[in-house]
């Protein structure tokens, strides 16, 4: 009963919050551009936008680090751009064109992208999440360093983390990688918890969370690349033999190397699929939640009754989607880790005797 009451209170607050938000945020006679809002969130930005109060933007300025064509580094806060309205030191944020939303500089009347390693919103979220992850895991590890084997098993948070880690370690890594799983366990565990914490933090709507980190292709690209290297650098001779000289009828591989070509493409499609799966899932989740939230503001122009009923619908769907995303956050981390483990396990094959060989 208590729980039900909590949920009811939360619902009321959310509804109330939605109403006040619409009263404050929406300027009179201006349509809400859902697409822009959603894409602005899914993409990256040079400042961490928190809210817009009337006409003032409340946001956290982030450091911009760029290297101009002339070869010197510039470091300054993104607040110099005045939310993209002004230019600074020759740099400005492009409004349109191929580099829309990015810092560009003008060279000979052409917009050119400088080398840009700014701490953007996604980068800051990434660093924060990494820090949180390292703190959590090292904190848990610290508990073990102080104790001996004979001590009782940990309880509370450390116990829960131990259970979590060992679940991934035993059920996923041990069973998927095979014999020498110990060598790959730290990497796979890091991948899992890295993705998981970034997914979870993405679900928190206010400052330290809320950034679309794992729904960014650069992040998943690096993760997939790491798995690609882990698979192929530690592949056994048997693994390479099965790629270039698989056990198929000779005409499939001799004059025209059909099977080897397919296998070779397979090397790259596996991590590519990993990259796209994680990226698409997380991005889609963020997009759906944002679109549902925008429903409140879109329906303002349709009259009060529609707006109120659609707000209720929107809140309900948002809650549902958030719960679903919680599940997806875990599932995607799990799937990425599991597939990585399976690919590593497949690349670690030992020479197995075929039935014909065994009979001879």
């Amino acid at each position: 009963m208590n729980k039900l009451r909590h949920i009811a209170v939360c619902l009321c607050l959310l509804l109330f919050g939605s109403f006040t938000a619409h009263a404050e945020e929406l300027p009179e006679g201006e349509d809400t551009d859902v697409k822009e809002i959603v894409f602005e969130h899914l993409g990256d930005s040079y400042e961490w936008h928190i809210t817009t109060w009337g006409k003032t933007h409340v946001s956290i300025p982030l450091p911009v680090i760029v290297r101009s064509r002339t070869g010197h580094w510039d470091v300054f806060l993104s607040s110099r751009f005045k939310h993209g309205e002004e230019s600074y030191n020759g740099y400005y944020i492009a409004k349109e064109g191929p580099y829309a939303g990015k810092i560009v500089e003008q060279v000979n009347g052409e917009e050119i992208r400088p080398i840009d390693i700014s701490i953007t919103k996604t980068v800051l979220a990434l660093l924060l999440n990494s820090l949180i992850l390292v703190c959590i895991i090292l904190g848990v590890a610290h508990w073990y360093k102080k104790r001996k084997v004979e001590n009782a098993a940990p309880g509370g948070f450390v116990g829960a983390m131990e259970m979590f880690i060992m679940m991934i370690h035993d059920d996923l890594i041990k069973s998927c990688v095979g014999k020498d799983y110990k060598r790959f366990a730290p990497y796979l565990l890091t991948v899992f918890f890295f993705i998981f914490i970034n997914n979870l933090m993405g679900l928190i709507p206010i400052f330290p969370g809320g950034a679309n980190v794992t729904g960014n292709i650069a992040i998943t690209l690096v993760l997939a690349l790491c798995t690609f290297f882990a698979v192929n650098l530690f592949g056994t001779r048997e693994y390479w033999k099965e790629i270039f000289w698989p056990e198929v009828p000779t005409w499939l591989k001799c004059p025209v190397p059909m099977m080897p070509a397919i296998e070779l493409v397979g090397i790259f499609t596996k991590p590519f699929a990993l990259m796209i799966r994680l990226f698409a899932n997380m991005m889609a989740g963020h997009a759906v939640i944002l679109s549902l939230t925008c429903l409140v503001f879109v329906t303002v122009s349709m009259g009060k009754a529609v707006n109120i009923s659609m707000t209720g619908v929107s809140v309900l769907f948002c809650i549902f989607m958030n719960l679903l995303e919680l599940l997806v956050a875990f599932i995607q981390a799990y799937v990425f880790t599991m597939l990585s483990a399976v690919f590593i396990g497949l690349a670690r094959v030992k020479h197995h005797k075929t039935t014909e060989e065994a009979e001879i």
Partner: protein, 167 residues
């Protein structure tokens, strides 16, 4: 589309932070935890094994002691039975002996009494004989004043003599 183009800056930071996180966690994080858990698993297994062994030993001891107790109880029973039997035997023997002894004594007493009686009878007889002889003398002295009666008397006596001898 912009979303599908990886940003160089983000790639750089992601690579950097992921490698740093990986190195830190792979060195100081996960191996510590997994190693400890594995060790604990082994420890628990060992402890279970030891506990099982101890329990088996305890069971063994218990059955042994039980058997010992049982045998002791049986021994006690046997001893008690034997003691009871011995008691019976001794008592019956004693009774037997006592009765035999008593019989013997009784017999002895009877014999003694017989002897005494016989002796007494003999004494009485001799006394009676002596008395009767005395009486007879006195009677005879009175009666034997005349000759014929003396003679008849003597003859009767003589007639009676062989009878006396025979009896």
């Amino acid at each position: 589309m912009g979303l599908l183009q990886p940003e160089t800056g983000l790639l750089f930071w992601m690579l950097l932070s992921f490698i740093v996180v990986f190195v830190i966690l792979a060195k100081y994080g996960f191996p510590v935890i997994t190693k400890m858990v594995e060790e604990r698993r082994v420890f628990v297994e060992k402890s279970l094994e030891a506990a099982k062994e101890a329990k088996a030993q305890l069971d063994n001891i218990k059955t042994e002691s039980e058997a010992l107790l049982q045998s002791a109880r049986e021994e006690q029973m046997k001893i008690l039975n034997e003691a009871a039997a011995a008691k019976e035997r001794i008592i019956s023997q004693a009774k037997n002996e006592a009765s035999i002894e008593a019989q013997k004594q009784l017999d002895e007493a009877k014999r003694q009494i017989q002897l005494e009686k016989e002796a007494a009878v003999r004494e009485v007889r001799s006394q009676i004989a002596l008395l009767s002889i005395g009486i007879a003398e006195k009677v005879i002295r009175n009666k034997l004043e005349d000759a014929p009666s003396q003679m008849s008397m003597i003859n009767r006596m003589l007639d009676e003599m062989p009878d006396m001898k025979q009896s």
